[in-house]
């Protein structure tokens, strides 16, 4: 499989009154054609900011991509002009969000909102765009498409709206779809349907998906490759089965342990002790050190780098450096 997008040493910082937050801190990964990559982590770990950096939509003022490259089909997205980037957005790279209820404009009809990217990117006429919009609504499994096209967002349920968001996102047959917690705000039964639709389009169009989630169930169902982020950094990544079977980083181990498993009732659900560190107070160390059971002296003073720890699996943890040294 060919690489579709390659992110190298991406850093995105936010300047606040109290100091600089390194929301994304030297992150590198790639997504190959037709592959689903899941980015996992607690809220505030930088996964959404990574997505917004790729889209070129980091909120200014304050937020800024300060370093790195994002290669998409041979071009560095960070070097493109605003207009070039805009013609990619919603066309070759598109995105859906966590809150379908608030992600659609309340005063515009559904149909109009689906037609917009068609008018801008495909240069369709209004009539063609409307026809295509209705096809798209049907494609995401909504009946009475005509009627839906003429309704306002508040008249539809969250699940329906997320389907509409998907319809908008796939209208330009994108090569990459970024889905930022697409099912978090939805009921469990609806979640499964939305994931089904995503998978279906991925297979039909050989689309790549970058799925951001904190739900390991979703990861298990969708991912080919998993990236685990903590405090703005990648702490572990690997092929999905490999990673679930033998997580290497203590944080990943904790995450997997805290997921309840059916038929295996324990007295108490496991949770990782402690809290995510204050992003303003990070010092040269492993950012996970104060929550880690295996914390060693070196963890408090030096940051581990991402290293190969197995076949198609990398982790940033001193435990494995040590292991290599001792071996």
């Amino acid at each position: 499989m060919k690489d579709l997008i390659q992110i190298n040493h991406l850093s995105t910082h936010f300047h606040t009154e109290n100091g600089t937050v390194k929301a994304v801190n030297d992150v590198s990964f790639r997504v190959r054609e037709g592959e689903t990559v899941c980015i996992v982590g607690e809220s505030g770990c930088g996964k959404s900011v990574t997505a917004m950096s790729i889209m070129g939509l980091v909120e200014e003022p304050g937020g800024k991509v300060v370093d790195g490259q994002i290669h998409f089909e041979g071009r560095d997205l960070l070097k493109l002009s605003k207009n070039e980037l805009r013609s990619l957005r919603g066309n070759e790279i598109s995105m859906i969000f966590q809150e379908p209820m608030s992600s659609l404009n309340p005063v515009l009809k559904i149909g109009q909102q689906i037609m917009e990217p068609l008018l801008v990117h495909q240069k369709l006429s209004k009539k063609e765009a409307r026809k295509r919009a209705i096809e798209l609504i049907e494609k995401v499994g909504i009946s009475r498409a005509e009627q839906i096209a003429d309704s306002y967002p508040h008249e539809l349920s969250g699940g329906m709206l997320q389907r509409i968001m998907i319809a908008i996102a796939i209208s330009g047959n994108p090569k990459l779809l970024i889905a930022d917690e697409p099912t978090t705000a939805l009921d469990v039964t609806i979640q499964a349907q939305i994931l089904d639709i995503l998978r279906q389009f991925k297979e039909q169009n050989n689309m790549s998906i970058m799925l951001i989630t904190h739900d390991l169930g979703v990861v298990a169902e969708m991912a080919d490759y998993v990236i685990v982020m903590y405090a703005g950094k990648i702490v572990e990544e690997g092929e999905v089965v490999q990673l679930f079977q033998s997580p290497k980083h203590p944080y990943t181990q904790g995450l997997l342990k805290s997921k309840p498993i059916i038929n295996q009732r324990t007295d108490e659900l496991y949770s990782i002790p402690g809290q995510v560190p204050n992003p303003l107070e990070l010092t040269e160390s492993c950012y996970f050190h104060d929550r880690c059971q295996h914390c060693m002296d070196i963890c408090r003073t030096k940051q581990p780098v991402l290293k190969e720890v197995g076949e198609q699996q990398k982790a940033a943890c001193w435990l494995y450096e040590e292991a290599l040294v001792h071996a």
């Binding site: 013609s87 608030s102 404009n105 908008i168």
Partner: protein
């Protein structure tokens, strides 16, 4: 909706009735009247006139008569001008409306454009400049800025006429008439726009700042729409929505004239008429005018509510 309307309207009527009583009593309290301030009349003639106008009757009875006539659409007879109050209103109100409508139009136009741009460039130097200008506009003493501009533009530079609606003794017709009126209304319109534009710009700016942070604006950007489309199609529509309620609140100022501006620019509007009549204690006119403003205020509030219901698709359903 209709049950709600009935409730609202009946409340309106009660408030207006209470207001009318209050207005009547206040003017009854006001010292002096048209007759006693007229030194040309003999004491006998004064007593006679009081009898004719019913000024000798007790307060409540006078209120009853006034209210009864008012409900029949008769606001009485101006003592000073010897014309029915409503006829006088009709003569003067359109001049006031002309001034108010034109300046309201410019106020909204400027406020929307500057508010949107300023919100989009929040914290830029342009935005800071706009904020300072907004405060400046909001802090202007209306009569002073009127006088100041007359002094500069009319007296010293002689660009524009200092006041009035037509040049004295002019009998221009057709296009020449229109031109003359425009010439005369420029300064008062500038002043009224200046006075109104500050708070409205600030209102739009803060609305836009709220809207720009919304998820659907992010969606619009993620679709690859041009920034001006994001701003004007997606953001502005949502920012304008709450502003629709303001349209109703503009009602009193559209038809009620402006006491200060009309006096300073000697504009033959209803506010000017009020000030003249106040000096003469022409009560029927004064009460009629105050009542008119009260009615406009109440109707304006109701209108705002209804407009909001019509404009917002989320509210429209219910």
């Amino acid at each position: 909706m209709s049950a709600y309307l009935t409730k609202r309207i009946s409340y309106m009527v009660i408030i207006l009735l209470a207001a009318s009583l209050l207005i009547f009593c206040l003017y009854a309290l006001t010292p002096g009247d048209f007759i006693s301030s007229n030194i040309k009349l003999s004491p006998e003639r004064k007593a006679e006139l009081r009898e004719i106008y019913g000024l000798n009757k007790p307060l409540l009875e006078r209120y009853g008569i006034w209210m009864k006539n008012a409900l029949h659409g008769d606001f009485g007879f101006s003592l000073a001008q010897q014309k029915p109050v409503l006829t006088l209103f009709n003569e003067y109100i359109w001049n006031s409306f002309l001034l108010a409508a034109v300046s309201t139009f410019f106020t909204w136009l400027i406020a929307v454009i500057i508010g949107v741009v300023s919100a989009y460039k929040q914290y830029s130097w342009f935005d800071t400049l706009v904020m300072v200008l907004i405060f400046a506009a909001m802090s202007l003493p209306s009569f002073f800025i009127g006088l100041f501009l007359i002094k500069i533009c009319a007296v010293d530079l002689k660009w524009l006429p200092p006041g009035g609606m037509l040049t004295t003794g002019s009998n221009a017709t057709g296009l020449a008439y229109v031109k003359e009126v425009i010439h005369h209304m420029t300064l008062p319109v500038v002043v009224m726009t200046l006075l109104g534009v500050g708070s409205l710009t600030r209102y739009f700016r803060s609305n836009m700042i709220d809207v720009i942070k919304q998820d659907y604006i992010r969606t619009a950007r993620a679709k690859g729409l041009k920034e001006n489309k994001v701003l004007f199609r997606h953001a502005l529509r949502n920012a304008l929505l709450p502003a629709i309620t303001l349209v109703g609140f503009e009602l009193p100022s559209l038809f009620g004239g402006s006491l200060i501006i009309e006096k300073i620019f000697n504009w033959p509007g209803i506010g000017q008429l009020y000030i003249q009549s106040f000096g003469l204690r022409d009560y029927p006119l004064l009460m009629g005018f105050t009542m008119l403003l009260a009615v406009l205020t109440v109707i304006g509030t109701l209108l705002s509510d209804i407009l909001y219901h019509i404009a917002d698709p989320r509210v429209r359903l219910h």
